[in-house]
């Protein structure tokens, strides 16, 4: 069936005119109509516009134009501004917000000929690890609808796993691509900080946020990254470093590649999870890679560091939502202070308010040095540990999450327990490193992820390592029952 094909195969059929983009788009739209009600993976569907985009792609294909993404349907996380289309960021605050312009990611993918099917559900303002903080209700995991899909990009992950689109965009501030990719059995790539423009991507924590991609294999992720990546003068932290040909890099043999096993990731790891990682390591040794243990002694500081730095930046970024220029405004404010307080109090959900207050606290007079400055120092120590490790090895490897997908509601009353879900993913964000999660097996019938992290701008090497693993295994080809 069409929805099980990878985009390389779809693009070939499109170019050969064996199928039109309109037909392909209709196929995915009808799957969404049939299967999404059980998943709640979307906030907005853009079916009409998708068919127009598809017709435009068909016209380009008809003129003999070729492109790896020309006519390929996709989903954008509802954090990316899409001109003329509601962009809610999963929040009541932006329930009425229609973006007046396209994010750079959206514009570039549109230019490459992709067809937007809709905007995916997400944790409110990307703050969450389970997709339960969305104003639009939780997303359900297609492997078991009583489980969370992970977060914050849970809608994009669930939709990719359920084959409601071949690929989807996401963002990753503390693991929000890699963790849901792991929990839904898809491939998720978080590029280097600065590799992909943040322009038009609603800010959560500006020194950590990075846009990336969900796909069903590393090759597809490479094709999408190719179109997304590159310098953008409209993002002051976008990096002017040439973009290599990611797809071309996928053929390189792994002989001699040095892979570091993160000792800290294996301490106390659940045995069945550890067994899957061991098995993956055997595959890599079989492919000619050398594995050795590396230690990042300060990595255990990463979760507390993150939960100071990210809320601090969030409290500053979200001060723009004041009920005056855009977004939710409370009814009958009695004065300006009441307008601010009630618009924000009513417009934001519980977790967002909790993080704004955490951030306000750690930045407030008397606490700044003890928390914020201290966390910034810890951040450097963690980054230095990664730098030292990459002097010895090319990539580091470990699990993406401590456990498979958990029950909806299981961790909602204990924020610290929820935060510990990100224990293996946060380090890469603090250091600005690229990371990828690939499916590596099952625990209790639920998918698990293998995580690879590389030095800055090592996306080509990471994607190739993920691709070679997927050539040797078929975990990425498993579909959840009912979505085959």
């Amino acid at each position: 069936m069409l929805h099980n094909l990878f985009i390389g195969e779809l693009a070939e059929r499109l170019v050969k005119r064996q199928i039109s983009s309109v037909e392909l788009t209709r196929h995915f739209l009808s799957r969404i109509e049939r299967l999404n009600p059980a998943l709640n993976a979307f906030i907005t569907l853009t079916a009409e516009r998708a068919l127009e985009d598809a017709a435009a792609a068909d016209a380009r294909l008809g003129k003999g134009e070729k492109g790896p993404l020309l006519g390929i349907p996709l989903i954008h996380k509802d954090i990316f501004c899409t001109s003329g289309v509601k962009t809610s960021c999963g929040s009541r605050m932006l329930d009425n917000f229609v973006a007046p312009y396209d994010a750079t990611v959206v514009a570039r993918l549109k230019g490459a000929g992709t067809v937007m099917l809709g905007k995916s559900n997400m944790d409110e303002f990307a703050m969450g690890s389970s997709n339960e903080t969305s104003y639009y209700g939780p997303v359900r995991n297609p492997w078991d609808i009583s489980k969370v899909p992970g977060g914050s990009s849970g809608g994009s992950a669930a939709a990719t796993a359920a084959r409601l689109a071949p690929v989807a965009t996401g963002t990753d501030t503390g693991g929000s691509i890699r963790q849901p990719a792991a929990l839904t059995g898809v491939t998720g790539l978080k590029p280097t900080y600065g590799r992909v423009s943040r322009y038009g991507m609603i800010a959560f924590a500006s020194s950590l946020d990075q846009a990336g991609v969900f796909a069903r294999c590393a090759g597809d992720a490479a094709a999408v990254l190719q179109a997304m990546a590159g310098f953008d003068p409209r993002d002051s932290t976008s990096v002017d470093v040439p973009v290599p040909d990611y797809s071309k890099a996928l053929g390189a043999p792994l002989k001699g590649l040095k892979i570091g096993l993160l000792r800290e990731f294996f301490d106390g790891l659940e045995p069945r999870n550890a067994a899957l990682i061991e098995e993956a390591l055997n595959i890599y040794t079989g492919l000619g890679a050398e594995t050795r243990e590396v230690s990042l002694p300060r990595l255990p500081l990463s979760v507390p560091t993150y939960y100071v730095v990210a809320p601090a930046e969030c409290s500053s970024n979200l001060s723009r939502f004041d009920g005056v220029r855009f977004g939710y405004r409370c009814k009958d404010p009695k004065d300006l202070l009441d307008l601010y307080k009630r618009s924000r109090g009513e417009g934001f959900g519980a977790e967002v308010k909790r993080r704004i207050m955490t951030g306000t606290y750690v930045l407030s007079a008397g606490y700044f040095d003890a928390y914020y400055l201290k966390a910034q120092k810890a951040r450097r120590m963690i980054t230095d540990d990664f730098r030292a490790a990459f002097e010895k090895v090319d990539l580091v490897i470990g699990p993406t999450t401590p456990t498979p997908a958990f029950d909806i509601g299981a961790k909602m009353n204990d924020p610290v327990l929820m935060y510990l879900n990100d224990i293996y993913t946060i380090g890469a964000n603090l250091a600005g490193l690229p990371g990828v999660s690939v499916p590596c097996g099952f625990v209790d019938g639920l998918p698990m992820g293998l995580q690879l992290i590389g030095p800055h701008f090592a996306e080509a090497k990471l994607l190739n390592a993920a691709h070679q693993y997927q050539q040797a295994t078929d975990w990425h080809k498993h579909a959840p029952r009912g979505y085959e």
Binding site: V98, P100, Y193, G194, S207, P233, T237, V239, R298, L301, V303, P304, T305, Y307, V308, S315, S319, D322, G323, V324, R325, F326, R329, P333, K334, D335, L336, D338, L339, Y340, K341, R344, G345, E346, F348, A350, K353, R354, I356, M357, T358, T360, Y361, V362, S364, A370, L373, K374, Q376, K377, A378, R379, R380, M381, T383, P415, V416, G432, L433, H456
Partner: protein, 96 residues
């Protein structure tokens, strides 16, 4: 360390957030547990370490040519505003 109701009221005021009576005890307890959790950092020896603000520190702010690059989108942007009049944003009276 544990936060009091007064602490949370003060933080909520600084953050310009109204918190309902029902929500208040939940925030007092969850913010206390978060602060306790991040207090782990106090045990880390960070002496002599420079704070890090940004993952790509080598980068400096770019200059651009002083040319007009933006056109006027006033009306378009105000379409998202909750209340406008004569091209201005409307707020409750600030000066009596």
């Amino acid at each position: 360390m544990s936060l009091t109701r007064q602490d949370v009221e003060k933080i909520a005021h600084l953050a310009r957030l109204s918190i309902t009576e029902q929500e208040m005890p939940v925030y007092v307890s969850s913010l206390s547990s978060i602060v306790n959790f991040v207090d782990e950092l106090s045990r880390a020896d960070t002496s002599g370490v420079q704070p890090m603000a940004h993952p790509l520190e080598g980068q400096t702010a770019r200059m651009r040519a002083d040319e007009v690059s933006q056109s006027d989108h006033h009306d378009e942007y105000q379409r998202n505003a909750p209340a406008v009049a004569a091209g201005l944003y409307v707020v409750p009276r600030v000066i009596e």
